[in-house]
């Protein structure tokens, strides 16, 4: 009879939250997983009507997951106890629109053959896998929000990313998509290796993979900071490596190079997916990691450790500038939107630098909470960026027997007259991305600006302001072409035979307008979601000066 082993298996070890307990908070993920499984089987049905229910099943699963997250039990543990419901409801809401946008991406030619009388061959269809991968990716994204451990975080991040590599490759039949998929995969693996190395160093520096709880990274680092030693070389290096590796997911400098190529090579619908899902995963990861470090350094005790702050500062400034300046030079709408998504990552990094803007434990005030601003911006960005990509996904034209998407800004000319719904959607979303009041994008930027000013990051605010001015140039081209110019003869775009895409575009444009009304309530939700908890038992390393020379984790634990 081996009682200790049994105790471990039953989860009765001295973990902060045993797995059986954790499952209560993972109900949304489980619902999504069940939906994924159903989609995987349903999508292979020989019956056409059953096959076509994939999107409906996905949307139902996402809606149920969102409801489960909104009305689920309140989470007690974790670094950011309030993060889960906010992030998961946001993921479910944007996820529904994303699934609507990706409808009809795969199997169009194959389904055409089948409807003309060809036999259905399950091996040739990609529908089941495509929807299942989209849902797997969204499940991974929700799991990132639930993460309280480095290993969990890594697995969830990879669950988010791995399906997207396949989605890019099978999104169109053109070789360009396969090239994009291969590029995305190899650079993604490179990024993953990098942050895995960073995680390993964090483990080496602290002796634990838990982000929060007794003896966790948060506590070890807090004890080290309290004893005046700083983070230590290894932990700092680990954090910097993790952040740089994760910057692949959020498409920030220095790992942004893939973005325009991959977004251009993938179908527009999948680009919309890529522009939100990995980015949200990356930002949630960075927020969770840095919340374990805490914003209690610096002279005022409300900043990140200086090396981390400088790294993020340089990354934010470069990301904004590179994204916006290169976007100005683009002719292709998709490349322009890809660079714009890089720039938006730069804006959001500013909020990460600012942090919760208060001492740990207290919920920050609205004006100074950078993390709330990031979460709110993620929401704004999710809707407005999706609308812009959805317009590109809706419109297509046939040239030489091949379907073509909108390529250049010239293709958008006169869209408000030829395709009023899509034209105005593009105008609204571009204006919102630009940050024109009173649209949603303005409020997103507003809270980022106020939090940065509140934290005294004036130089960064100036860079942000300059970048918003640069961004106006290319966003106004996206506004002017459909609204003011008249269309060239011959460039006639028709709607793709996937009505859900049109509805997704219209819904995003509507949310850009309508979500302004509850913006105050939403930022309050985001504010509640980002109350960083203090480590459970604040420790002081009481060892003498001889002890403090060694910064290894066992020494810190011994000092407790």
């Amino acid at each position: 009879m081996s009682t200790p082993l049994l105790m471990t298996m039953l989860g009765a070890a001295d973990q902060p939250l045993p797995m059986v307990e954790k499952l209560r908070y993972l109900v949304p993920e489980m619902i999504l997983f069940i939906a994924t499984v159903v989609v995987m089987i349903v999508g292979l049905s020989p019956n056409r009507a059953v096959r076509r229910s994939c999107a409906a099943v996905s949307i139902a699963g996402l809606a149920a997951a969102g409801a489960a997250a909104a009305f689920g039990p309140a989470f007690e543990g974790g670094v950011l106890p309030g993060l889960m419901p906010f992030a998961k409801v946001l993921i479910a809401a944007v996820g529904v629109l994303l699934v609507m946008v990706v409808t009809g991406t795969v199997d169009r030619d194959f389904e055409g053959e089948v409807s003309r009388g060809a036999a259905f061959d399950a091996l040739r269809g990609n529908r089941a896998e495509f929807y299942a991968f989209a849902l797997f990716s969204l499940t991974g994204l929700m799991l990132v929000a639930s993460a309280d451990d480095l290993i969990w975080l890594f697995l969830a991040l990879e669950l988010t990313s791995l399906p997207t590599y396949v989605m890019v490759s099978i999104s169109t039949a053109r070789s360009r998509s396969q090239e994009a998929g291969v590029k995305y995969f190899f650079l993604g693996a490179f990024g993953a290796a990098m942050f895995l190395y960073g995680f390993a160093m964090l483990y080496g520096a602290t002796g634990t993979t838990a982000l929060y709880g007794p003896g966790s990274i948060a506590e070890v680092l807090a004890a080290r900071a309290a004893s005046g030693e700083g983070l230590g070389m290894l932990a700092t290096l680990g954090l910097v490596l993790s952040i740089v590796g994760v910057s692949f997911k959020i498409a920030a400098v220095p790992m942004h190079f893939y973005t325009p190529d991959v977004y251009e090579g993938a179908a527009s619908s999948v680009s919309a997916f890529l522009a939100f899902v990995p980015k949200a995963a990356g930002f949630l990861t960075i927020i969770l990691l840095l919340a374990a470090v805490g914003w209690h350094f610096g002279p005022a005790g409300t900043a990140l450790p200086e090396p981390i702050r400088v790294t993020l500062w340089v990354m934010a400034a470069l990301t904004m500038t590179v994204g916006n300046v290169l976007a100005v030079m683009q002719k292709s709408v998709k490349r322009m939107l890809a660079y714009s998504s890089i720039a938006h990552s730069g804006y959001m990094l500013v909020g990460v630098i600012v942090g919760p803007g208060s001492q740990a434990g207290a919920t920050g005030s609205l004006q100074s909470n950078g993390l709330a601003a990031v979460l709110f911006y993620l929401l704004c960005y999710g809707f407005m960026n999706l609308g812009a990509f959805a317009v590109l996904a809706v419109l297509e034209k046939r040239s030489g027997g091949e379907r073509e998407e909108i390529e250049t800004v010239e293709d958008l000319k006169g869209l408000c007259r030829t395709q009023p719904l899509m034209g105005w959607t593009m105008v609204l979303c571009a204006l919102s991305l630009l940050g024109l009041p009173p649209l949603l994008g303005f409020w997103g930027k507003f809270f980022l600006f106020t939090s940065a000013i509140g934290a005294g990051e004036i130089a960064l605010v100036v860079v942000m302001g300059l970048n918003s001015a640069i961004a106006a140039y290319y966003y106004l081209r996206l506004v002017g072409a459909p609204l003011l110019e008249s269309s060239d003869a011959g460039a006639s775009f028709t709607e793709a035979p996937a009505p859900a895409r049109k509805w997704a575009a219209v819904l995003s444009a509507a949310s850009v307008l309508v979500l302004v009304l509850p913006a105050g309530w939403l930022i309050q939700r985001a504010n509640n979601a980002t109350g960083v908890r203090p480590p459970t038992t604040p420790m002081k390393a009481s060892g003498g000066t001889a002890d403090s020379a060694s910064t290894s984790a066992p020494a810190v634990r011994a000092a407790r």
Binding site: V37, L44, D121, A122
Partner: protein, 133 residues
């Protein structure tokens, strides 16, 4: 304790390992030598060929395989990994007191886990992996 005695006593722990290494070497050498001495010797072109699991090792290296092999390998992997998880479970399960309620919970969990792998089987079946024509 004097150093030589300590070293000797510690080295004594490795005696089984030493015996095992000796046996392994003896077995390998003896097999080669014995088959050289008493085995029949039938040489030929086929005998001199590289053994490739029954495949003809001649021809282009970029030969195409039927994609079915790959899908079946993937399906096999699902059940392969499942078995890996069943072993530690089985080892622990025998330690559980039959009277305690944990036994049912333990059994239920592993049955649920096995049910999830049925999904992979259902997917493979629908995809036509097991259809040979």
């Amino acid at each position: 304790m004097p150093l030589p005695v300590l070293a000797a006593s510690e080295l004594a722990n490795y005696l089984p390992v030493g015996v095992l290494v000796l046996m392994a070497i003896t077995f390998a050498v003896a097999n080669v030598v014995l088959s050289l001495l008493i085995g029949p010797n039938r040489d030929g072109a086929t005998k001199a060929d590289t053994y490739e699991s029954g495949m003809l090792p001649v021809g282009t290296a970029r030969k195409r395989f039927n994609v079915r092999f790959y899908i079946i390998a993937m399906t096999f992997l699902v059940f392969d990994v499942e078995v890996i998880f069943l072993y530690p479970w089985a080892v622990t399960f025998s330690n559980i007191n039959p009277q305690s309620p944990e036994g049912g919970v333990f059994l239920g969990r592993v049955l649920f886990f096995m049910a999830t792998t049925v999904i992979a089987y259902a997917y493979g079946y629908r995809k036509g992996v097991f259809r040979f024509d």
